[in-house]
């Protein structure tokens, strides 16, 4: 069959966009009515999607492979944890600080990217990822060290104006995560469509040509790493509220980094919705394979499914889905795009 052609900016395109938003809103509302356990799972997926979106900026769009994003996730989580437990701050008010600290750490980690690239840069980020749990253990007074940091559920109560009670904090965090994910996706979309977004991809595709076109590689790389860290830190902050108990060996080791990278490439690197799809895959695939077999075999099946997806869909699930949809609806650039307004 021939695909339906839709031009960007046309009424049909607007309609499609609104339909997409309505479908997403419907899915969120439906998710909110599920049992508490499912709501928690979906919250986890959304937090993951934010974390992977952060990684996507550096690794997907700009080609700076980071194996250390678990450190940003952890720094965001511990900032919120420490602020709430030690200083009695309201959880939501800790988000800006967590994001800011992670942006600064991201900027600093991005500095070596000015001199080194590829696997060597990945090694630097690896070091950061390895160091993070050690640093948490070292500053025991603040972080609780190896014993962990427990946030009491009373401290995680939803703000009073919501009228929600402590036991309803799950649904509160569900909507907070949904809002944070929406904001993240809008920001990423704006950024990647901008002049800076083109500079990011240009840097990834060909550094020398990018510099010859006037792209300040140093600025692009450090800015992107800072932003990438900030977004993953936002996810970490929400994650602290979600789990309520932080330990250095729990969720902030290199395994978390690997999970984020896996999610990114499964979902589709350098795509807007890839991280969301990847987050679903990373959270639900293990359950799915555990249903097929038990014990160690399920781990093997999980690995096999991962390999199969990477082989069959090198552009990620979102990339393949986009191509599949392209058979039915093709969105062409606006007729006037490029002509003077």
């Amino acid at each position: 069959m021939t695909p339906i052609h839709v031009r960007t900016g046309s009424a049909a395109h607007r309609g499609l966009q609104i339909a997409g938003l309505a479908a997403a809103a419907g899915a969120l509302l439906l998710g909110a009515t599920m049992e508490a356990f499912r709501v928690g799972q979906l919250t986890n997926v959304m937090i993951f999607a934010i974390a992977i979106s952060g990684l996507n900026l550096a690794t997907g769009y700009t080609g700076l492979l980071s194996i250390g994003h678990s450190a940003f996730f952890g720094l965001g989580a511990y900032t919120t944890g420490v602020m709430v437990v030690t200083y009695g701050a309201a959880p939501m008010t800790t988000i800006p600080l967590a994001v800011l600290l992670c942006a600064v750490l991201g900027f600093v980690v991005g500095l070596p990217a000015l001199r080194i690239r590829g696997l060597y840069l990945a090694l630097v980020t690896l070091a950061v990822g390895v160091a993070f749990p050690e640093v948490v253990r070292r500053f025991e007074d603040l972080t609780g060290g190896a014993a962990g940091l427990v946030i009491r559920s009373r401290q995680l109560a939803p703000p009073e104006w919501t009228g929600l009670t402590v036991p309803q904090r799950g649904i509160w965090l569900y909507w907070v995560s949904a809002a944070a994910l929406l904001i993240t996706l809008v920001l990423v979309r704006n950024l990647t469509r901008s002049r800076l977004g083109i500079a990011m991809i240009a840097t990834r595709d060909n550094e020398i040509a990018a510099a010859a076109s006037g792209v300040r590689l140093a600025t692009v790389k450090t800015t992107v790493f800072g932003l990438s860290g900030a977004v993953t830190g936002l996810a970490g902050s929400l994650f602290a509220m979600y789990v309520g108990a932080l330990s250095p060996d729990g969720s902030f080791t290199l395994l978390k980094s690997i999970e984020l990278i896996t999610g990114l490439f499964l979902g589709g690197a350098a795509t807007l919705f890839g991280p969301v799809v990847g987050a679903f895959a990373v959270v639900y695939l293990p359950y799915f394979t555990a249903d097929l077999a038990s014990g160690h075999v399920s781990g093997v099946i999980f690995g096999a499914v991962l390999i199969a997806i990477v082989f069959l869909m090198p552009e990620g699930i979102a990339g393949v889905a986009g191509r599949f949809l392209g058979r039915f609806i093709r969105i062409a650039p606006h007729e006037n795009q490029g002509e003077r307004p």
């Binding site: 901008s194 083109i198 010859a212 076109s213």
Partner: protein, 264 residues
């Protein structure tokens, strides 16, 4: 960055003075000097390994000469960082294509205009109202350039997978988007068919006229160089062996020897 910007009416000359560059013990460039006058098309010829591309890379600051200097107007290029060369009005193409394969032809061209626009990082992130219309305007200018180079049909196609000759023109479009005063073309005819080479010569002359720019081209294709250049510089083993009009250079004994070998 504070730098004297070259404006549209400013027409600086490119001056290469006594440039020497060694790789280990090998002198890739040995005391090379010449001038590309404003609006002039200058051809740089020489056998493989003569040091043409090395010289090119000195101009675009990929290499830094050991001694001697390159200046554009009053600006000493040794003091300019690589990404600022284009801000002075010097844009280049590459010998082996250096496009951004995952971007569309239009986006590649827009990337070439990167230096002409302000950052606006926060504005980009938040999608400020002005950002969209500014983006439209930049794309509009890029589309004009694509139309000029007969690339309108492929504007929205990714660069990846287009034919070689087309990609060569996309590189030219990207360079033009920077609104340069001087174009550096590294083997623009390399890999093109005979017909394409003839069109390329006409195209370069037309661009010079319409965009008021000069060009320095490194080229093996003698026919092309001799037919469009105002001025030809010949090199061999890192040294300049001839410098003059195409006819003068063609008649130079050392040039004939370099290309045909010494008569016994």
């Amino acid at each position: 960055m504070q730098m004297v910007r070259t404006t549209g009416t400013d027409r600086p000359a490119l001056t290469v003075t006594d440039v020497t560059l060694r790789f280990g013990g090998v002198a890739a460039l040995d005391g090379v000097g010449f001038t590309v006058a404003p609006g002039e098309i200058c051809g740089l010829i020489g056998p493989n390994g003569a040091g043409k591309t090395t010289l090119f890379n000195c101009v675009t600051r990929i290499y830094r000469p050991d001694s001697g200097g390159v200046s554009f107007g009053d600006t000493d290029l040794a003091r300019v960082r690589p990404h600022d060369v284009v801000r002075l009005g010097i844009a280049r193409t590459f010998q082996n294509l250096a496009l951004f394969p995952s971007l569309t032809v239009l986006q590649n061209t827009v990337a070439g205009a990167h230096a002409r626009h302000q950052a606006g990082f926060a504005a980009a992130l938040l999608g400020w109202p002005g950002t969209r219309s500014r983006q439209r305007r930049i794309e509009g200018e890029a589309m004009d350039i694509l139309a000029e180079l007969d690339l309108t049909d492929v504007a929205h196609r990714p660069a990846h997978g287009l034919p070689y000759g087309t990609l060569k023109r996309v590189e030219l479009a990207r360079a033009l988007a920077a609104r340069p005063r001087l174009l550096l073309l590294d083997e623009p005819a390399g890999g093109l068919t005979h017909a394409e080479v003839r069109d390329l010569g006409d195209l370069i002359l037309r661009l010079r006229r319409d965009h008021d720019l000069g060009a320095l081209l490194v080229e093996h294709h003698m026919g092309l160089v001799m037919s469009i250049s105002d001025h030809v510089v010949a090199m061999e083993f890192g040294r300049k062996i001839a410098d003059g009009t195409p006819d003068e250079v063609r008649a130079e004994r050392r040039v004939i020897e370099a290309y045909l070998g010494k008569a016994s």
